[in-house]
C-alpha cells in the first residue's frame, strides 16, 4: 500500500506549550486518552488547556465532571489561568455534572447519559473528570471492561477526541482494562526532592504516532502546564556539519595558543579556581563575538545582568549597547528550582530570537546550584544533552567551571565533565618568586592544533593579558609550587605554539 492510500491522522494542538513536540506534532484526532497521576499533578489543567485550544461553537467540548472536585470550585480555580476564556462558556465548552447519575445509578445509566449529551452536542472533545471516581466500585471487572469498550467505541464513532482523567498509582498499570483500551496514556508525576517539587510527564503510549520517549519536565504557572521536551524540541533539526571556522577571543596570544581560536560549534570549558579570571575570559569572548558581528547569549546564575554588564564595563567592554541593539542577551536564570530542560528552553528561545552564535554559561557550578535538588543527580546527563543540542545547531559554547585549587593535583573540573567538552583551557595560581601569579594552558582542542605552552597572564583593566613567552625557567608549574630550573633566558627553546602543533 502506498503512502497515498494510508489514512491521514489529523493532529490536534494540545494547547500545552512544548507538549505538541513531545507527542509527535499534536494529539491524534478521535483518540481515546487517559491522563493519570496523583492529586495535584496537573491533570485537570492539562485537559482544560486541550479543551480551550480545540473547542468551537460548531464542535464544542463536553466536560463531564463526576464526584471529585466540585465543578463550581474547579471553574473558580481554573479561570485563574491565562488560557481560560470565560466567553467560550457555554457555547464552545459545556460543563455537565454526572454526580447524581453516578451516585444513584449504575455504569449503564452513566453511559446512557453521556451518549445523550454527546448526540445532542456533537462535540469534538469529550473529557470525563474524574473517571476514576466513576468506576471505583464496578459491580465486576467485566462490567467495567464492557463499559470502557462501549464508551471508547461510541466516542470514536462520534468523532470525538477524548480524555479520561483519573488518579492512578503506577502499580495499577498492569491488567487494567482502561489502559488496554486507551490510545494514549499520559502519566503525570510529582515528587518532592528535599525542598523542591519536581514534575515530570511521560507518554507511556500513543498509538499511531512517534512520541518522544522518557520523562519530560513540566511546570505549572499562571499560563497553565508548560512541558519541556527531553530533546529540547530539536528532534527534527539536522546537525550542522563540522566547521573549520575559528572564533577568536580578541586576545591575540590566547587565540594563537588555541590554533586561531575556538572552532565554531565547539564546547569550550574554562576551568580555574576563584579569581583566576574565568568570567573575564568569558566576557571577552562574548564581546569579541559582538565586535565580529556574532550575536551572543550569556547565561548567568551568580549575579544579575546589570552587575555583569557593569563588571564588563570596568574592563572597557560595552555590553549595554549590544543588549539594546538586540545583539546580546544576558539571561539571569532564576535560581533554586529550575530543571535543565527549562533552562535550555530559555536559552534556546534567546538563541533563536537573536540568532546567537556564541553562548557563555557562567558558571556550571552556579547552574547546578540553580537546579532543583532532584535535577542535580541528572546534571551531567542533562548537560550533555544540552551541549549536544546547542552545538548541533552551530552555537559555540564557553562554560566556566570552578575547580578546587590543589598543590598536588591538576584537576580540569570537579564535575568530571571534561568528556562533554571539545576544548579545555585551564587557569591556575602558581607560586613564583614570592608572588601568587597566574598561568594558563590549553589542555585539549578536539580535532585541532593548539600550543603546549604554559603562559603567565594578568588581569588588567583591559581584561586578560598574556605576558611574555612561555615560562621555561621553572619546573613543576602545574603543581602550583614550581622550582627554578636554573636555565637562563638565553637557553630558551622555541615556543611550542600552534605552529609547532599539538593535536589532541
Amino acid at each position: 500500500m502506498s503512502t497515498q492510500d494510508k489514512v491521514k491522522i489529523n493532529k490536534l494542538p494540545t494547547g500545552v506549550p512544548g507538549l505538541d513536540e513531545i507527542v509527535g506534532g499534536g494529539l491524534p484526532e478521535f483518540s481515546f486518552n487517559i491522563i493519570a497521576g496523583a492529586p495535584g499533578s496537573g491533570k485537570t489543567t492539562l485537559a482544560h488547556q486541550f479543551v480551550f485550544a480545540n473547542a468551537t461553537p460548531e464542535r464544542p467540548a463536553l466536560y463531564f465532571t463526576v464526584l471529585g472536585e466540585s465543578a463550581i470550585k474547579m471553574l473558580r480555580y481554573q479561570q485563574q489561568y491565562k488560557f481560560f476564556d470565560p466567553a467560550m462558556l457555554p457555547d464552545s465548552i459545556r460543563f455537565i455534572n454526572l454526580s447524581q447519575v453516578v451516585l444513584e445509578k449504575d455504569l449503564g445509566a452513566v453511559l446512557e447519559q453521556i451518549t445523550k449529551e454527546v448526540e445532542k452536542a456533537n462535540p469534538a472533545v469529550v473529557v470525563v473528570d474524574s473517571f476514576r471516581t466513576m468506576v471505583r466500585k464496578p459491580e465486576s471487572d467485566m462490567d467495567l471492561q464492557s463499559f470502557i469498550q462501549r464508551l471508547a467505541l461510541f466516542l470514536a464513532s462520534w468523532q470525538a477526541t477524548t480524555f479520561l482523567i483519573g488518579e492512578y498509582a503506577e502499580e495499577e498499570l498492569r491488567d487494567n482494562p482502561i489502559f488496554t483500551v486507551a490510545d494514549g496514556l499520559f502519566w503525570l508525576r510529582q515528587t518532592a526532592e528535599r525542598n523542591s517539587i519536581v514534575r515530570k510527564l511521560q507518554i507511556i503510549k500513543l498509538r499511531g504516532q512517534d512520541s518522544v520517549p522518557g520523562l519530560h519536565t513540566f511546570r505549572i504557572t499562571d499560563a497553565g502546564v508548560q512541558a519541556f521536551s527531553r530533546t529540547f524540541g530539536l528532534t527534527a533539526r539536522k546537525r550542522n556539519p563540522p566547521s573549520d571556522r575559528r572564533l577568536c577571543f580578541g586576545i591575540p596570544e590566547l587565540d594563537k595558543m588555541l590554533g586561531g581560536g575556538v572552532r565554531e560549534g565547539d564546547s569550550l570549558l574554562v576551568a580555574g579556581s576563584s579569581g583566576t579570571g574565568k568570567s573575564v575570559l568569558a566576557t571577552q569572548f562574548i564581546a569579541e563575538g559582538i565586535r565580529q558581528g556574532e550575536p551572543g547569549i550569556v547565561a548567568v546564575f551568580e549575579e544579575r545582568p546589570q552587575a555583569y554588564a557593569e563588571r564588563a564595563a570596568s574592563l572597557g567592554l560595552d555590553l549595554e549597547t549590544p543588549q539594546k541593539d538586540g545583539k546580546l542577551t544576558i539571561l539571569y536564570l532564576r535560581p533554586l528550582d529550575l530543571s535543565v530542560d527549562e533552562t535550555m528552553h530559555s536559552i534556546l528561545d534567546a538563541v533563536q530570537k537573536i540568532g546567537a552564535k556564541r553562548l557563555v554559561i557562567d558558571s556550571l557550578a552556579g547552574f547546578e546550584m540553580a537546579l532543583s535538588p532532584g535535577f542535580r543527580a541528572d546534571f551531567r546527563e542533562s548537560l550533555y544533552r544540552m551541549i549536544f543540542a546547542l552545538t548541533g545547531i552551530g552555537v559555540t559554547i564557553l562554560s566556566t567551571v570552578e575547580v578546587d585549587e590543589s598543590f598536588t593535583e591538576f584537576p580540569f573540573s570537579t564535575y568530571s565533565i571534561s568528556f562533554l567538552t571539545d576544548d579545555i583551557v585551564r587557569l591556575r595560581y602558581v607560586s613564583i618568586d614570592g608572588q601568587l601569579r597566574k598561568i594558563m594552558v590549553v589542555i585539549k582542542m578536539r580535532g585541532g592544533n593548539h600550543a603546549k605552552d604554559i603562559r603567565e597572564y594578568e588581569i588588567t583593566s583591559k581584561g586578560v593579558v598574556i605576558l611574555g613567552k612561555r615560562l621555561i625557567n621553572y619546573q613543576g608549574l602545574i603543581s602550583g609550587i614550581p622550582v627554578h630550573s636554573g636555565r637562563s633566558a638565553q637557553e630558551e627553546e622555541p615556543s611550542h605554539d600552534s605552529e609547532t602543533n599539538n593535536q589532541t
Binding site: A87, F95, N97, L98, S99
Partner: protein
C-alpha cells in the same frame, strides 16, 4: 447581607424581562420563579442537583434578613423552590412586577455565582439563558453607567 448593587440591578432586569415574557405565555407564573427555574436548569447541568440546591439554600439564608417574607420559602432536595408562589400572589404585580423579595433572592444567588466564578463567567453562563438586552453591560460592576 445586602446583595451588591450590580447584582440587584441584574436580578431586577432578569425579573423584569421574565415579567414581560410571562405576559405572552399561557400560565401566569411568577417572574422570580421563572428566573429561578432557568438558573436551576442551566447551573444544575454543571454544578449538579446537589450543588445547585446548596447554592440556592445559601442564597435564601442570606436573603431572609432583608426580605422576611421569604421565611416560608424552602429549597427542595432537587433544587426547586417551594412557597415562593404563595408570597408573590400577595404582591401587586402591576405595581411591582419584579417583586422585592424575588429580587433579593435572585440577586443573592447571582452574587454567590459572582463570588465563586467571577463576573465574566457568570455573565457568560447567563447569556445562554437570556438575550443580551436582559444582561446589559450596565449591570457590570465595572461597567455600570453613572
Amino acid at each position: 447581607m445586602t446583595a451588591a448593587p450590580g447584582m440587584r440591578d441584574l436580578a431586577h432586569r432578569l425579573l423584569t424581562y421574565e415579567a414581560g415574557a410571562g405576559k405572552t405565555s399561557e400560565p401566569m407564573e411568577s417572574p422570580t420563579l421563572r428566573v429561578y427555574e432557568k438558573l436551576r436548569q442551566s447551573l444544575g447541568e454543571f454544578v449538579g442537583v446537589t450543588g445547585f440546591e446548596l447554592l440556592a439554600s445559601r442564597a435564601l439564608t442570606l436573603a431572609r434578613p432583608e426580605a422576611p417574607g421569604l421565611s416560608a420559602v424552602r429549597v427542595a432536595a432537587d433544587g426547586s423552590i417551594q412557597g415562593l408562589g404563595e408570597i408573590e400572589t400577595q404582591i401587586d404585580m402591576n405595581k411591582d412586577p419584579a417583586g422585592e423579595g424575588g429580587i433579593i433572592l435572585i440577586a443573592g444567588l447571582l452574587g454567590l455565582l459572582r463570588i465563586f466564578l467571577g463576573e465574566a463567567l457568570t455573565l457568560s453562563l447567563l447569556r445562554n439563558e437570556w438575550p443580551g438586552e436582559a444582561i446589559d453591560d450596565r449591570n457590570s460592576v465595572h461597567g455600570r453607567k453613572a
